[in-house]
Symmetry: C2
DNA sequence: CCGGCGATGACACCAGGTGTCTTCGCTCAA
DNA sequence: TTGAGCGAAGACACCTGGTGTCATCGCCGG
């Protein structure tokens, strides 16, 4: 993160990252499959958190609500980290290869949420759609959060995103 | 495509692709920025088609309907190619780096549709949501089409996808 | 017939990524 | 205490994607 922020993602070499960590280039690739992957360590844990929350939601909850609550909670956990998350976000959006990686992580998250919904007994096709919509709302909410000047409440942003989506889809002007 | 199908994406080298085309490795990179990009030549044109269709839709049409009609039309244009598209799809889904590239192309498409909707006077945030939902429906519809044993009508699939989404979102059980 | 221009050849070079063997440090049992 | 065993790291060669650079060739208009 230090190196990337100082000189930009492309101008930092893996050998330099390894050196700063007191290791050899080869050792870097024993910990991360990719140069990109070093910026996505947390994503597996984040995904697990969201999935667990969806599964643990009371059966009285609507599937939509369960998904949105899980994503809101997970997102709040992220945004609580504050500045480091902002920093990471700036780096990721600066390079296309990183945005690609982020997109595929979100795709994996979508698949995982989809799966969690099916475990709740939601019909297959419905589950897929809900997962897609939920993750899309999460993504834009997160982007909005990271672009905002003032610190904002993540849960409020993502709720707003969903409401607007519902309106647009179901009550077209 | 021949080489990739014969031996798999990873085991084909750029030098070999160039050789089969009677060119030098360096010349390949004068035509494509990437090894991946050679599988995404059509995507710019596809995006242009969809955007133009959204813009050209009569003002009497609902934004949702305009988007879905444009995507259905564009998708039908794709699926009309038949087997080559299936072949390409098999290759793309076989390698993570290719799926990543595909995702970012879809992201670009989403942004373009978003923009086109705003030009129609749709409110900004609504436009973004509609574009996301539309492209998501397109993606799953296309996937369903490419996995189907029998040739199917693309427009019907994508319509079905949207209907189910509306139901899931607006009339939760 | 010539000057210029775009496309390609030729070639060196860098960085990401991998295979392989060795070395080091720790743990645990005899 | 010692030594076998094992995982993590070092060392190093090697491949491939990707770029910079310069020479070359064919074409086209004047």
């Amino acid at each position: 993160m230090e190196l990337f922020t100082e000189r930009g993602y492309d101008d930092v070499t893996v050998a330099e990252i390894a050196e700063r960590a007191g290791l050899q280039k080869r050792s870097f690739f024993r910990h991360y499959t990719d140069k990109r992957e070093v910026l996505f360590t947390g994503s597996a844990e984040f995904q697990r958190t969201v999935v667990d929350t969806v599964r643990a939601a009371p059966t009285s909850m609507t599937p939509v609500d369960a998904v949105m609550a899980a994503l809101a909670q997970g997102g709040t956990g992220l945004t609580d980290w504050g500045e480091p998350v902002h920093q990471r976000q700036r780096i990721v959006s600066s390079a296309q290869e990183l945005r690609e990686r982020e997109l595929i992580k979100m795709d994996a998250l979508t698949a995982a949420v989809d799966d969690a919904l099916r475990h709740r007994g939601v019909q297959d096709i419905t589950a897929t759609r809900l997962a897609q919509v939920g993750v899309a709302a999460f993504t834009t909410a997160f982007q909005q959060w990271s672009e905002a000047a003032e610190p904002q409440d993540f849960a409020a942003i993502i709720d707003d995103a969903l409401t607007r989506l519902r309106t647009a889809l179901c009550e077209p002007q």
